[in-house]
């Protein structure tokens, strides 16, 4: 069968608009018609295809509409008379029960006479409705829908509160002993499972490959409703055995979905594991647990190993019993943990427990970002509606004669409002239908360009919920943009028959309304543009900020050495490798480290600074192990004190280097040089050693836009650490050659080992991907808002100018200066634009304070951005008003007077 065809399925869905009997008879035929016509259109290129879609959708909507409303009673007689719209109106208008269908029918008839107007309105609405639907789809999938597990609303993520961590943060990791304690006394939890993540090198078939593993406790797959696509999943009796279940993705990518992989033995880190099954593609592992992106799932082996209370790396999820509350769960976990870590138990790192709803933990801060995004697209939609309202107002004015005649022939005000609303409704629905197509495309693009780490992205689709949302938004939009112009037009139609006396006041009223529309859309555009301007400014600041080192030309090669290697072996390996890199052409200097900026810290330890502010308090501090040339290779500056001495480097002294963030936090006034930091918690006996600060370096950015953590640097030979990175400095031009050199050197040294080579700049780009993505997203909202507002101001001014042609003609004939005429016309639109800018800036200031607390570090008091945006929108608005005014000033007075007279 043919593969999924979104266009065809959309067409099929739209066919539901037709009456059932018609659909049953002709659906297959129409689908075939659609297929052939589209094939023909696509042979004429992209534009041909666009034209095809526009024609097809319009045709579908209009014909479906006619069928639903069209004169069924006439069908059996002879062809209806398609007279001019107005003639048969009054008789039908008086017929009781004509009602809404009649309104829609007349609306459709009159809209067909102005295709350009329809195209403009429908595409404006489609853009607004489409963007809104797309963002809603994402929000729905991420925030509103429950997690895809049975009874997921009762699932809670259970973790520890680690000393030094802010309460209310995310749950910290669990130890296996604590998990077993909790499982032995589950309290309100009916099921408890744990997961650990790790990595291993897969060898034996093809190139060695480093893969992610997840180790899980029994009952895990049952709890999350996972099913096998091949073989079986893990059973309780598998615990402790060397068996594994492959993830669906890994099974497909690495083995092409080959079923014969079942029963095969794979080698992970030198140990053999048997494949007993593969997961079905529907299973989406809980993203907050460590190792959720694993290629293979292994039993945790809790029943065979010793419970361990010193190593923390587990994520724990529990499902509450139906009658229990989240607070019951929280209280119980706290009680069980305090049995082991209570105040009477001596020194420890665990201060308490953190238990949160699993969905809340998964979605996290995304909820706020998405709400802001939804609000932004709603603003866009409102600007679009204001534009359309302006256009309808114009249209109502140009149709005054037609409406007046209808009114004179007996159509009441309600009838006229009804017909005009019918038009709006059709426009709204057509815009909504096209908007649904826009949303399909936008969601698709969104899923492709979003940087990793966005929760629940795989679940995002435009489904019936989103389409229901589209429908209600379209209807609401129709009412929003249609009602005021309709009422106005109908009222003035009623008046204008009785004479032209009130024309002057009506003109004033219309001008006021137009001014209000311009003001509203300017203010909204300013709000959106300020929001995106603040984000762009922040992004520029982040990109150009001094990172505290020279990032250009740095390349890192990371090793994960086999577990079989002893400490002396790997120390000599790094020593030799470092020496050999210095012989490579193009390398200026190189060093060993456990951490590169924009990456993760390998080592975080609890430390207690002495004779310091916060005396007697310990903190989790990242420790970076480095070789001698690390600082010079990175281009890091010394702020005070000295670099490591040879004795420090050999591990004979306790000298350490800290960064300025640490120094100024603990010794703000007296300086950190010569001060001591004790390893371990404050209440621990002095057996783990103390370190003396010999140097303070300038802060190095760890993550863009975030405060620099307090760091400790120690010589790498003083501490044992297996997995490190060799970083080398070269000229940016020779980077490629050096990368290749490093790779072949690594292959020579350890042939069976996968290595990761990255440049520091690519780490930076990765770290910036998310802020950049959000900035681009919101900047495009801002740009779109600006364009829409400019179009609206242009249209409104152009109409106002046209309706004053006679006045301008008279002025010019009387000898008025052309530039004065232009100035007068521009001022008319300029005043509401100016007020709109001021109101918009004020609202933006209020909202941005909200924004900065919500979203990614956005400074709300960024005066330059406000001034720039205000001026920019003012200029755009005045320019949009200038064009029609300038063309008005070229009016030939004689012609206009003759025409109007």
């Amino acid at each position: 069968m043919a593969s999924f065809d979104p266009g065809r399925s959309l067409f099929r869905r739209l066919l539901r608009l037709y009456p059932r009997n018609f659909r049953e008879r002709f659906m297959e035929e129409m689908l075939e018609f659609f297929r052939e016509e589209r094939a023909e259109a696509s042979s004429r290129g992209f534009l041909g295809l666009c034209r095809f879609w526009l024609c097809t959708l319009t045709d579908l909507l209009f014909s479906a509409f006619r069928m639903r409303t069209g004169g069924k009673p006439n069908l059996h007689t002879q062809p209806r008379r398609f007279g001019p719209g107005g003639a048969h109106l009054t008789s039908q208008a008086r017929r009781p029960g004509g009602g809404m269908m009649l309104d829609l029918k007349q609306g459709a008839t009159s809209l067909r006479r102005s295709p350009g107007f329809v195209a403009f309105v429908v595409s404006t609405l489609a853009l607004g409705v489409g963007a809104t639907t797309a963002v809603f789809s994402v929000l729905d999938a991420v925030l509103l829908r429950p997690l895809p597990y049975p009874a997921s609303s009762r699932m809670m993520l259970i973790g520890t509160l680690i000393r030094g961590q802010e309460p209310g943060g995310s749950p910290g990791p669990y130890s296996s002993a604590d998990f077993l304690d909790l499982r032995a006394d589950p309290g309100p939890f009916e099921v408890l499972v744990a997961q650990e993540g790790s990595r291993a090198v897969l060898t034996g078939q093809g190139d060695p490959e480093r893969i992610h593993l997840a180790r899980i406790s029994e009952g895990y797959f049952e709890m999350f409703g996972a099913r096998p696509a091949l073989g079986r999943l893990l059973l309780p009796e598998d615990d402790g055995l060397r068996v594994m279940v492959l993830s669906h993705g890994f099974w497909q990518d690495r083995y092409g979905g080959d079923p014969s992989v079942l029963g095969r033995t794979l080698t992970l880190d030198g140990e053999a594991f048997q494949v007993i099954g593969a997961l079905s593609p529907e299973f989406i592992p809980p993203e907050v647990l460590p190792g959720s992106g694993a290629a293979a799932w292994l039993p945790m082996g809790l029943s065979v190993g010793e419970p361990d209370r010193s190593s923390f790396g587990m994520g724990v999820v529990g499902r509450r019993q139906i009658q229990s509350t989240p607070d019951d769960g929280r209280a119980h976990v706290g009680r069980v943990l305090s049995d082991d870590y209570g105040p009477d138990k001596g020194a420890n790192f665990i201060q308490g427990s953190v238990v949160v709803d699993l969905k809340e933990a998964t979605v996290g801060a995304m909820g706020r970002t998405l709400s802001v995004a939804l609000a932004s697209v709603f603003f866009l939609l409102i600007i679009g509606c204001v534009n359309v309202a302006g256009l309808l107002l114009t249209r109502g004015a140009t149709r005054q004669a037609e409406l007046a005649i209808r009114s004179a022939l007996g159509a009441g005000r309600c009838r006229l409002v009804g017909q005009l609303m019918g038009e709006s409704l059709i426009l709204g629905l057509a815009g909504g239908a096209l908007g649904a197509c826009v949303a399909y495309g936008a969601v698709d693009v969104f899923r492709k360009v979003t940087p990793g780490g966005l929760p629940r992205l795989t679940e995002v689709t435009v489904d019936h919920r989103a389409l229901a949302f589209t429908l209600s938004v379209s209807l609401a939009a129709a009412i929003l943009f249609g009602l005021v112009p309709a009422v106005r037009a109908a009222r003035s139609a009623g008046n204008s028959v009785s004479g032209m006396a009130r024309r002057a006041t009506q003109g004033q009223r219309a001008a006021r309304l137009r001014g209000a529309l311009i003001l509203a859309e300017t203010a909204l555009a300013v709000i959106l543009t300020v929001g995106s301007g603040l984000m762009v400014h922040e992004l520029v600041r982040l990109t150009t900020a001094d990172p505290g080192f020279r990032p250009g030309g740095l390349v890192g090669i990371s090793f994960r050495l086999p577990r079989s290697m002893e400490r002396e072996e790997w120390q000599s390996f790094y020593g030799t490798f470092l020496e050999r890199t210095q012989g490579l052409p193009g390398i200026q200097s190189s060093a060993v480290t456990t951490h590169l900026p924009y990456g993760q810290y390998a080592l975080v330890q609890i430390m207690t600074p002495r004779d310091a502010r916060y005396e007697g308090e310990g903190a989790w501090l990242p420790t970076v192990l480095v070789s001698r040339d690390y600082f010079s290779t990175m281009g890091i500056r010394l702020a005070s004190g000295r670099w490591f001495s040879e004795a420090d480097l050999r591990g004979e002294t306790d000298g350490i280097i800290v960064n300025q963030a640490l120094a100024s936090r603990y010794w703000p006034s007296q300086g950190a040089i010569g001060k001591w930091i004790k390893s371990g918690a404050p209440d621990l006996e002095e057996d783990e050693g103390s370190f003396e600060i010999v140097g303070v370096i300038a802060d190095v950015t760890a993550q863009p836009g975030q405060a620099v953590p307090e760091e400790i640097y120690r010589p790498y030979r003083a501490e044992s650490w297996r997995n490190m990175t060799v970083v080398a400095r070269t000229d940016p031009e020779t980077l490629d050659g050096v990368t290749a050199g490093l790779r072949s050197l690594a292959r020579e040294s350890l042939p069976d080992l996968p290595v990761t080579i990255t440049t520091v700049q690519s780490l930076f780009r990765e770290a910036m991907a998310r802020p950049r993505f959000y900035t681009v997203l919101f900047a495009s909202f801002g740009a779109l808002a600006l364009v829409l507002a400019a179009v609206g101001i242009y249209g409104t001014t152009a109409f106002a100018t046209r309706s004053r042609t006679r006045e301008i003609g008279i002025r010019l004939a009387l000898g008025a200066d052309r530039s004065r005429v232009i100035r007068r016309m521009v001022t008319r639109s300029g005043i509401p634009v100016g007020i709109g800018v001021i109101i918009g800036l004020a609202c933006a200031f209020g909202l941005s304070q909200l924004l900065s607390s919500f979203l990614y570090h956005v400074p709300s008091r960024d005066g330059a951005t406000y001034v720039a945006v205000g001026l920019f929108v003012l200029i755009v608005g005045l320019t949009a008003a200038l064009f029609p005014a300038a063309s008005a000033s070229r009016i030939d007075p004689a012609t206009t007077l003759r025409e109007e007279g």
């Binding site: 035929e29 075939e32 018609f33 297929r35």
Partner: protein, 109 residues
């Protein structure tokens, strides 16, 4: 006498040449009018249903030269006697108008 819509007339004209399916009608009309009349699927089948109710056209079994499209079998439509009458009546009427116009030198011969 009610006037016939342009669309109806065009469809009748196409079917006068022989039975056609929906897309065939569209192509025939587009070719004959040089693309000036381009019917969408909705409008076309709407008109077909209406003309079936008036018994101007009827569904007929597909001819033997069914194209090898591989798609589902198509519905073919042909003119009924009433359809023929309606078409010739309309053409007659138009012809009268044209002759009148020529007689008054409104239209070049």
């Amino acid at each position: 006498m009610d006037r016939m819509t342009k669309r109806t007339l065009q469809i009748l004209l196409s079917l006068a040449e022989g039975p056609l399916h929906g897309y065939g009608i569209k192509q025939n009309i587009a070719r004959r009018t040089g693309g000036a009349v381009n019917l969408g699927s909705g409008t076309l089948y709407e008109a077909i249903q209406r003309m079936e109710i008036w018994s101007w056209i009827e569904e007929v079994p597909p001819p033997d030269r069914e194209p090898p499209s591989g798609g589902p079998p198509r519905r073919f439509f042909a003119l009924t006697a009433a359809g023929q009458d309606a078409l010739s009546e309309e053409l007659q009427r138009m012809d009268e108008i044209v002759r009148y116009a020529r007689g008054r030198d409104l239209l070049e011969a």
